[in-house]
């Protein structure tokens, strides 16, 4: 790294010698890429703890109110939830393939895989919308209009509070991911990426996979509580 001493900001002649995407405070594309990767993983760490708080609340109340949890979970549509899980994992596959295409210089393939990822994400959100709409109709949204039969109704309201908080937060992250992927797809379409520099695709991929992982946990925790029993009321 000693030869980095040569990079003097006054002399713009040296600009011709470095990649246009190399930012000035870094000495090499490799250093920049390592920094970006580390930074994105660190951001994902914060996301783990962010969702983690809700998992804590979930854990406590599931231990305290197993019947309410079973009753609440039974209200969720298992088929739609399973489809959504398959769809989202599928979108992770297409995302991984998009990163791989960018890595190997496949310009068109990158765009195609990215668009597919977004489409699958859109399917997920549409299904989610229908699930939410159904909850709204059945008065399962916590708050003033909540209504649920049976003696565990107050605790079922807690269950649904967590359901909406967790899936809502997840859906918000998906929307952000959408925005991210739109920008990246556009850049890929403009042929901005190459095997030498495709960092934004890779970073978006990490984010998208994380969102998938959250759902991998949400699915069993919310949809698969005591499905073997048909709860009373």
């Amino acid at each position: 790294m000693a030869d980095a001493a040569m990079t003097d900001h006054g002399a713009h002649a040296v600009h011709a010698h470095h990649h246009p995407d190399l930012q000035h405070h870094f000495d090499s594309l490799e250093q920049q890429h390592e920094a970006a990767t580390l930074g994105m993983w660190m951001f994902l760490i914060t996301e783990v703890l962010f969702f983690g708080g809700l998992f804590l609340a979930y854990m406590l109340y599931r231990i305290w109110y197993p019947e309410a949890w079973a009753e609440g979970s039974y209200q969720l549509n298992l088929m739609l939830g399973t489809i959504n899980t398959v769809v989202l994992i599928g979108s992770s596959l297409t995302m991984a393939l998009a990163v791989r295409s960018a890595q190997t210089g496949g310009q068109r393939a990158t765009v195609v895989w990215l668009i597919l990822t977004m489409l699958l994400g859109l399917v997920f959100l549409i299904i989610k919308y229908f699930e939410y709409a159904e909850k709204f109709e059945h008065h399962h949204v916590p708050g003033h209009n909540f209504a649920f039969p049976g003696p565990h109704s107050p605790q079922v309201q807690i269950y649904f509070s967590l359901y909406f908080l967790m899936t809502g937060l997840h859906a918000t992250h998906m929307l952000i991911g959408f925005g991210l992927l739109s920008v990246i797809s556009w850049m890929a379409h403009k042929k901005r990426f190459s095997p030498a520099w495709y960092t934004p695709v890779e970073m978006s991929g990490l984010y998208w996979h994380f969102v998938d992982i959250v759902w991998i946990f949400l699915f069993p925790l919310l949809y698969l509580v005591d499905r073997a029993h048909v709860p009373v009321g």
Binding site: G53, A57, P142, I158
Partner: protein
């Protein structure tokens, strides 16, 4: 002392301050040094705001009767004092101001890893601050900065949501800054700058960043859940549905306890630098101090329920947390011993930064030890929610963190501005602050021990004398802080210009001009020696 006859120094031709001077060049800057200064402006304003609220508190408490403000207004005063000071002064002060300015310089880097993200952090900070200030001015918040449910989620009529949103937004500033610093330290150290050659300030900032990244998201989700509960009627903490309000406390303190280590670790880092420089000696037990920073950060995550001892948690879990709380005091003690050992038999150069640092040592010691009182379960039953606790945390936060911040500010001021402030006035201010501080908070230990509860605007007449002393102390403290502001601002116009290294200190930041170039260094520095090689320096000082 007779000032060392330094040759008159001319201002450097190009500095980060003068190379571009439009407003846009500041508001759109990616320069970590300018961003540090922008934080300084907002934090100073927040400090003044918090001080105004504190003045309201101490004025009311000068008399036993609730004659100045109503109980509701008093609740708002202490809440907003806490919110302003915790989230907008103590958390960002050293990391966002001094860390931003000094860290890349100390590492021999041109900037932090993500300069644009750094600017975004500042904007997020400002937006969060604006939300919170609006909440304070519009209707105030009266829940205490701790926002305990169910009062905050159901009963309070005040601007809980607005403040919650402000705090939520500001949290992201803290997270992104921490993330930025950690990546910078991992990936942008100068050639030859191995981990164990790093100045201890860097270790402190690293440990702090770890806490910021791991802890802040939890308060984010807690405040978000609170806001949604309040706004949409969701019920996670609601006892009427079977929810547990203590869960809120668990989640809140999971961040807020490590948060106090965010507040104290960077000032401790600054203290290491100051004590080394003004003792002309390497910090005693360098690796112990370095590892203690990490230990404080990690252990700090294991003790939060000591805030819940009387909230209804199980006795067994309280025992565990009490034990862990004693354990977390150990690395802090190690650091304190090491600083003292650094000063032992050293040729102390008693300039202003050193006065602040010595004051820190004494006050932090008292603050830390009184924490141990509260960590004992039986004792805590009596002193929880009394003025003893208030005194304890003010000794740490003001006597410790703010003193450490001032020590760092006075140490790096010539580097930041290229000017030296009046040493005499700085020492006078330090002594005034020290005296005022002790008069304000010393009596509060006794008040708490005698049973005066916190967060009440009335008290029995037998507590008045001590309260009056405390309020008198607060006015002296205010004078001291104002004085600091005055001579520091004056130095910008009339201060003697200094060269690259007025303190003859070690550290890469002192090898470049004052104020630094926009891109920090002319050529990439290379490091070949350990952090505090004062022994090999042949400069006579003092």
């Amino acid at each position: 002392m007779a000032t060392q006859t330094a040759p008159l120094v001319a201002a450097p031709a190009v500095t980060y301050l003068n190379h571009e001077t439009t407003v846009a060049s500041w508001l759109l800057t990616k320069d970590h040094k300018r961003i540090g200064i922008m934080y300084l402006l907002v934090v100073t304003f927040a400090f003044a705001l918090g001080g105004v609220f504190a003045s309201g508190i101490r004025l009311e408490l000068a008399t036993p009767a609730g004659d100045l403000v109503s109980a509701d207004t008093y609740n708002k005063l202490f809440t907003m004092h806490g919110v302003a000071m915790v989230f907008f002064v103590l958390i960002p002060a050293v990391p966002a101001i001094l860390g931003n300015f000094v860290l890349p310089l100390m590492l021999g880097a041109k900037d932090v890893a993500f300069p644009k993200l750094n600017l975004l952090s500042w904007y997020i900070f400002v937006i969060g601050f604006l939300f919170t200030v609006y909440a304070m001015l519009a209707r105030g918040v009266d829940t205490g900065w701790t926002f305990y449910t169910p009062y905050s989620s159901r009963a309070s009529n005040s601007n809980v949501m607005m403040t919650g949103i402000g705090v939520f937004i500001t949290g992201f500033s803290s997270i992104l800054t921490g993330l930025n610093f950690m990546v910078t330290i991992h990936r942008m150290r100068a050639p030859g700058l191995t981990w164990f050659r790093l100045p201890l300030f860097v270790w402190a900032v690293y440990a702090t960043s770890l806490v910021q990244v791991l802890g802040t998201p939890v308060i984010a989700i807690t405040v978000l859940s609170l806001a949604i509960e309040r706004f949409l009627g969701f019920g996670i903490f609601d006892p009427a549905l079977g929810g547990d309000p203590v869960l809120f406390q668990h989640m809140f303190w999971f961040y807020s306890h490590p948060a106090v280590y965010i507040m104290i670790l960077p000032p401790m880092g600054a203290i290491s630098e100051v004590i080394a420089c003004f003792s002309r000696k390497s910090v005693f037990g360098y690796s112990f101090v370095a590892f203690s920073s990490l230990a404080i950060a990690i252990f700090g995550f294991l003790v939060w329920a000591h805030h819940l001892f009387v909230a209804g948690i199980s006795v067994y879990s309280a025992l565990v947390f009490s034990f862990l709380t004693y354990a977390v005091a150990i690395p802090s003690a190690v650091k304190t011993f090491n600083w003292a050992a650094t000063m032992y038999r050293a040729a102390i150069w008693l300039k202003a930064p050193m006065i602040w640092a010595i004051a820190f040592l004494g006050l932090f010691l008292v603050g830390g030890l009184t924490g141990l009182f509260t960590a004992a379960l039986g004792v805590d039953v009596h002193i929880h929610d009394t003025y003893f606790v208030v005194a304890h945390f003010h000794f740490i936060m003001v006597g410790g963190a703010i003193m450490g911040y001032f020590a760092g500010l006075h140490f790096w001021w010539p580097k930041i501005t290229g000017r030296m402030y009046s040493d005499i006035w700085a020492k006078v201010a330090a002594i005034i602050v020290f005296a005022g501080f002790n008069l304000t908070f010393g009596p509060q230990f006794i008040l708490g021990y005698m049973g005066m509860p916190r967060r009440y605007h009335v008290y029995p007449p037998e507590y008045q004398v001590l309260n009056v002393l405390s309020s008198a102390g607060a006015s002296i403290l205010a004078v001291g802080y104002l004085l600091v502001g005055i001579y520091l601002v004056a130095s910008l116009f009339k201060g003697e210009r200094v060269g690259a290294n007025p303190w003859h200190a070690t550290g890469l930041e002192w090898t470049t001009q004052s104020p630094p170039l926009p891109h920090n260094f002319e050529t990439q520095p290379v490091v070949t020696e350990d952090a505090y090689e004062y022994a090999t320096r042949e400069v006579k000082v003092g």
